[in-house]
Amino acid sequence: MDGDMMPAPKKSNWGNLFRSEDMVLIGLYFDRAAAEQTVHELGRIGLVELIDLNPHYSPFQRTFAADVKRCEEMQRRLRFLYQQVEGLDGVFIPDGEEYSRETLQAVRLDDLDSHLGQLETNLNQMNVQEEALHLQMNERIEHKYVLEICATFFSDVPRSGGTFDLRESRTMLNFITGVVQREKLPVFERLLFRATKGNCHLKFNDLPKPVIDPHTAESMNKAVFVVFFSGETVRTKVTKICNAFGANLYPFPFSHNSQMTMYNECRARLNDLENVTITTRRQKVETLSEIAAKLPLWSEKVFCEKAVYHTLNLLNFDTSQKLFVGEGWCPKNRVDDVRLALDRAVRRANAQVPSMLEERKPSSRETPPTYYRINKFTEIFQTIVESYGVAQYHEVNPAPFLITSFPFLFGVMFGDVGHGIIMAAFAFLMILFEKRLQYSKNEMVQNLYKGRYIIFLMGLFSIFTGFIYNEFFAIPLDIFGSRWKYTSESSMACGIDNCDVPSEVLPPLHPYPLGFDPVWKGSQNSLLFFNSYKMKFSIVIGVSQMVLGICLSYANAKFFREPIDVWYVFVPQMIFMNSIFGYLVFLILFKWLKNWNSEACMSDPTCEPPDLKAILIGMFMSPGNVPPKLKLYDGQAFVQVILLLAALVAIPWMLLPKPFLLKARFERTKYQIVKNNSDLETPASDADSHHHGPFNFGDTMVNQMIHTIEFVLGAVSNTASYLRLWALSLAHAELSDVFLEKLLYTSIESGSPVGILIGFSMWLCATIGVLMLMESLSAFLHALRLHWVEFQNKFYNLHGTGRKFAPFDFAELRQLEAES
């Protein structure tokens, strides 16, 4: 009882994907001096999932909270620098590479911190300066335009002695000059007119090219304007309106001379400003191009340091002994690698105290995480399974079965040799160029890239199912020669080797060897024939897959040493499933094997193929009574009664014994705890691995009831659900047929080369767009559903999902950061 708390049964020899890796709980002890190096090494090998030993501390209360914060600040600064560099033309940041430990070591975090701080201040200063310069420059440019354009407004004013003499007029005429956005001008004019009750005059002229507004720094079309008015009260009004419209006002002196002086001043100032701007800009470019090459290294350094401090925060720190204590999960067969990593870190840090690693015995409450060693081929299948739920520790993994069953079921729905070849070739190209596609940033390309192996297999199986359905872009392939021929005696065909009396329309003695006879494709009743086959095949393959699923639940029960699950779950489930749907498969096979065309049968009026659905319904509705129309073999009534009884018995068998047996076992264990109460450790029965906490009979009963009802009803609905294989493959065949007939054949009949070309390209577009993209997606989704629901619910995640192994791994973290 106490000896084998963790069941350690022998793993099957079905490979590492069948069940998750054995995990061990390890304790780590290392010196303060070696701490950073050790954690860094752990991040590099990525094999240990460290457990948070300070779960009650908030992030701010932890030992290295300040360091994490400092790293975050540095990351912010680095992001700022990246932005600055990216804003410049001609300066490039090299792609991040794999930096060696020594290169990273050479960068000191303190130096980098102060350096980054300084860089930020400098750059901010430069930016402020540059902004101020730009503002001044843009103001001068606008002013220059005002001086130039306003001069033309005033050129027709009578002059006396080189000055405009507005004072000569009867009233004092004032004016304001400035620049306003072109679009606002009409409204501006109307408002001015209203505000001054018509006592003003606006003259304007567009600027020859767009200018940058000094205040908003946006490029816009503007116009120079002059407002003439009289009186000081009007001036305040006009000025207010100008401000409201974002017009920039510039002085325009009366006298021609002062105009010239102002104009020259303006130009000289502009020139100066331009020079200063260029110098400032050059300085900024120099500063940034100096650091651009180092940015990836710095980011990497800060990223690693932050991860290291973050991880150190998970550990216990013994202040008196300057010792770090950590605990984590690690795959059992990689513990030695972790040990080596610890030693490397100690050597590198020149620490006096060697680090220690011990394997611990996990308490029964800590279930190890689930970890599979996957490769680039199996990755996608594992991903598909885990999108539904993560396996519990050591639970049977459906992924190895998916490798063939998933593409196969897809192929059943997508059966066409031509389409299969296109799909397989496309995926093959992706596999061929996988190195080049790996770093593609395009999300669509990434998704296809991830699925390249499954798409390849889907294509291959589609080719096979295409041969069975005998479709090549919806054209039947006559490889072996049709076994049927049409005669003049009858509208129906007869077998080529069995046509002595054509009116008897006897079928061929030797049917077409691979797939459907090509004669069916063109026949009037082809759908009837295909549908009958596809429905029956869906049932056969569906029942086979579900029975496989139930068998896998047996593998789980056996592995976790749960005899209750074998005898009171697996066995009745098998009986129930097989006595109804196994029997249906038997009926299907029997009907196929019986020769309905033999002379004995032909002469016997009662020898008529029965409706299998009716037989199955009759088996429930009127047990013990088989009408002659539904009779397939002798003793059918008796067999059906027995099977029905077996199915009925299986239901309470599934429902009742398990909760009572669990209860009895719980009471037995409780008694044993009391008996050896010297043992203070929390006891856990070896098999009770997924029933923690106090036993609640009510809950267990309800749970069992749900499982039973789900299975019994599910058996019916899941079998029916497999008929989607028929529906989808029917839809695929019909669609490709319609495209072929309506687009390609019609255009060929038209006879004109242009028409054929158009017809062909339309057919190609429809084939690629509708069939290869949309239809394949829907077939994929239906295959997904059949695996997630119909297959996996028989054995997978029955006791809740597991937890995925999440090791502390730089590579993984980096990818996460890149994605966010």
Binding site: R373, T404, P513, F529, K536, W592, N597
Partner: protein, 69 residues
């Protein structure tokens, strides 16, 4: 029925050959060898079921192809 037997024998033969080939290719990698063997068996089973049911469906057909008008 004879053809069904011959076909089954061909399927079985191909399965054995593939199983053997996969085992040889991955002889140094027990995990992938097991995975490959499972895949071969599963694929053989799926494809055999499909072929055999299709053959059986045409062995004693209940309907005959009708000329389309």
């Amino acid at each position: 029925m004879g053809a069904l037997l011959i076909g089954s024998i061909i399927f079985a033969g191909l399965t054995v050959v593939s199983y053997f080939l996969i085992s040889v290719i991955f002889r140094n990698d027990k995990d992938n060898q097991a995975l490959g063997q499972l895949c071969v068996l599963m694929a053989a089973a799926c494809m055999y079921i499909m072929w055999a049911t299709c053959f059986l469906h045409q062995l004693h057909p209940i309907i005959r192809p009708e000329k389309s008008v």
